[in-house]
Amino acid sequence: MSSHAWEKKPVLLLILATVTILVGTIFTMVLPFAWVNTEHDRIETVSPYSPLEQAGRDLYIREGCNNCHTQTVRPLVAEVLRYGDYSKSGEFIYDRPHLWGSRRTGPDLARLGGKYPDEWHYQHMVAPTSMIPKSNMPAYGFLNDNLIDPDAVKKAMDVLGFPYSSNDIAQLEGKTEMDAMVAYLQKLGTGIPWRKAAEVEIIGELVNPFPKEPTAIAAGELLYAENCAACHGEELEGQIGPELDQDVYSDDELFELIYVGVTDAGMPSFASLGSTKVWQIVNFINYRETP
């Protein structure tokens, strides 16, 4: 009887379509809740955000930084070299919402905490191109002009159920949005002590492979402008980092400083440049023509 066929019954069709949609939904969206964020995922050292950090996180969301920056490092060789240890599920249990993002117009920020000194961020956020001339990141100087509202932050902490003391809230008085943003950025990815584990060690003797070679010096000059000038000044005169024009280090000392970095004092490791480029920079710093 054709008039009884379900192809002609819209309500039945609607129900069947709903059931069809729910199968995949249950398997791939509902079921994972039994695996994710359970005891199995827990990492001892991961802590909730402090009030100032959470305020910064909310600003990161407000400004849509996630439209240009991701926050997950994938377990791929190049990616771990570039950004740091790959991301673990347990590191995100306090992230509501997650901010993994889908586009890397700018670099990944999952392991940003501790990469730069605070001072670097204060300057960079106000005028990215003053430090990274080719950047297209918008300038966020206005964050310096606005104060954090401690009451609003307290309410947010209550909703999220994160611990805080009344002192924490009192300390927010007078803090700017920029302070909060920088505090948040410095927290990113520090839930596990990966920097210590990733610290580079130099084994064996160091020999400058191209001592005083002009081509190496020229290459080093370009590399310096790109990677170091923002912190040590265009003329090596020092800025966020100390001046480098005093020629106090031998070649191999200099190599080690740059390659390994002084990561707990704001000097990043440049091992990812590879030793050739680091030697070129060494030759530039130690043997450049000085005016």
Partner: protein
């Protein structure tokens, strides 16, 4: 045959507004693409890239996409059911509430009220507006189908019904959040769970907004434009069930190599590849309908839009599964390649099909014949060229960027810094901007043609208007 009093006024109004939001989409799209090459175009705090990009995507999906689907669903449902709308009043309310919602959305996003979830940025009060809108729409469509006078249910109605429930389920589940204040809330889910729910939503927004509704439109307007019935209704039925079944498994292909459990990623990858079959079921159905009709590609400008549209859909549904394979994803994920993929779908598939449907409706909603077919052809070529420049330049950009991100020296160090790969993108971004401008000119030609038609095109014969 007894005459039915079709409500075309509501169709016309929704089309007018969807085109207005479409222009906003493209204007903001052009602005943000130039912000990427000229960062001084960011005017803090409101007009920065971070706040404008979601306005572009929301205006595109909700304003232009869903706005047009409101119009076209209301048209198709009346015609396919041979009956007038269940409630004209509700539809009118929906029209104004739709505009109120889009305006509220744009203003709140500019002010920085956002949840950060892609395609679901709207904060909870605006979410509630969206839900009201959708319920009003769904009731009206479903009740019209229930009271229909045509016993047959053509496949377009199936796709419409599926998208009505699909969007409702997706939107509600992903909206679960705890309000802190009027315009701030926190997601009910945390971290990895939140990401998995979000991309279950995100990918199926593609299914239920950018695939099922344009397919409903395609299945309706291709036969109408050519006069030839669709090749196989049975094929469309099999493709329908397979499509809506498989799509829901694939969300995690946006999360390959992240901390989401491996088995979820593997399922997403497998189902994405299987999705080629039902997707191409529709593509073949379209092509085979054209058997013996290919001469219409030259003679009938509507057919050009529709066939190019389904061709881009076909390419999109081959490229998508490729991107869902782990090894390829490790390469192109996060790169410029992805906006290339997105805009072949958005500017090619979805928009081309919508243009065709709107042109087809001109005599019915304006009572006049189209002012100029040469202008419609010009529109076609401009948007086609603009979109190809956009997508192709970004695919090349994405491959180069991916290559540079992954390149390694012999000593195991990285060949390029982030900034070295970054600066290589500028020429491609310029090209994309130019492609966008060409597309914008195409849209302006379209609008001029419609305005001229409304103002003084040749009156269409009575029969065509009412039929």
């Amino acid at each position: 045959m007894e005459t039915v009093n079709y409500n075309y006024a509501i169709v016309r109004s929704f089309i007018t507004w969807s085109i207005i939001w479409g222009v906003v989409t493209v204007l903001v799209g052009v602005l943000i693409s130039f912000q990427l090459v000229l960062p001084e175009l960011n005017f803090a705090p409101y007009l920065t890239y971070g706040r404008l990009r979601p306005i572009h995507t929301n205006a595109g999906i909700f304003g232009w996409g869903i706005g047009s689907f409101f119009a076209l669903f209301y048209y198709m449902v009346q015609r396919l059911c041979r009956t007038s709308l269940w409630s004209d009043g509700l539809a009118k309310f929906q029209l104004w509430f739709f505009n109120a919602t889009i305006i509220t959305a744009a203003v709140t996003l500019l002010l920085g009220y956002t949840t950060s979830k892609e395609y679901h940025e709207l904060e909870w009060p605006v979410d509630i507006m969206v839900v009201i809108l959708w319920v009003a729409f769904a009731i009206n469509i479903i009740m019209t189908i229930v009271k229909r006078r045509e016993p047959q249910m053509y496949v377009s109605l199936w796709f419409m019904l599926a998208s009505l429930v699909g969007v409702a389920i997706l939107y509600l589940v992903n909206a679960a959040e705890v309000p802190v204040s009027l315009f701030k809330s926190y997601s009910a889910y945390a971290g990895t769970n939140d990401a998995n729910v979000q991309w279950w939503f995100g990918h199926n927004a593609v299914a239920m907004v950018l695939t099922a509704p344009p397919l409903a439109v395609f299945y309706y307007f291709l036969p109408k434009a050519t006069g030839a019935p669709i090749y196989s209704h049975r094929l469309s039925i099999v493709a329908f069930w397979s499509l809506i079944f498989m799509y829901l498994w694939t969300g995690a292909h946006h999360l390959l190599w992240t901390p989401v459990p491996d088995w979820v990623q593997t399922l997403a990858m497998a189902f994405s590849v299987m999705l080629i079959a039902p997707s191409w079921g529709s593509v073949f159905n379209g092509y085979l309908t054209m058997n013996g009709q290919w001469h219409q590609m030259r003679e009938n400008y509507l057919v050009k839009f529709l066939i190019l549209g389904i061709t881009f859909y076909g390419l999109q549904t081959l490229q998508g599964p490729l991107q869902a394979v782990r090894s390829f994803s490790s390469f192109i994920h996060y790169t410029e390649w992805v906006p290339g993929h997105v805009h072949m779908g958005a500017m090619g598939w979805v928009s081309l099909v919508l243009f065709a449907a709107i042109y087809y409706l001109v005599p019915k909603i304006y009572g006049r014949e189209l002012y100029s077919i040469p202008l419609a052809n010009l529109h076609f070529w401009l948007v086609l060229v603009g979109q190809l420049i956009y997508s192709i330049s970004l695919w090349v950009a994405g491959l180069q960027q991916a290559g540079m991100w992954h390149a390694m020296n012999n000593d195991g160090s990285l060949t390029y810094t982030f900034m070295e790969a970054f600066v290589e993108m500028y020429p491609y971004w310029w090209m994309r901007g130019v492609g966008g401008l060409i597309y914008l000119v195409g849209i302006l030609v379209f609008i001029v043609n419609l305005i001229k038609t409304a103002q003084g095109g040749k009156p269409a014969p009575e029969a065509i208007q009412n039929a």
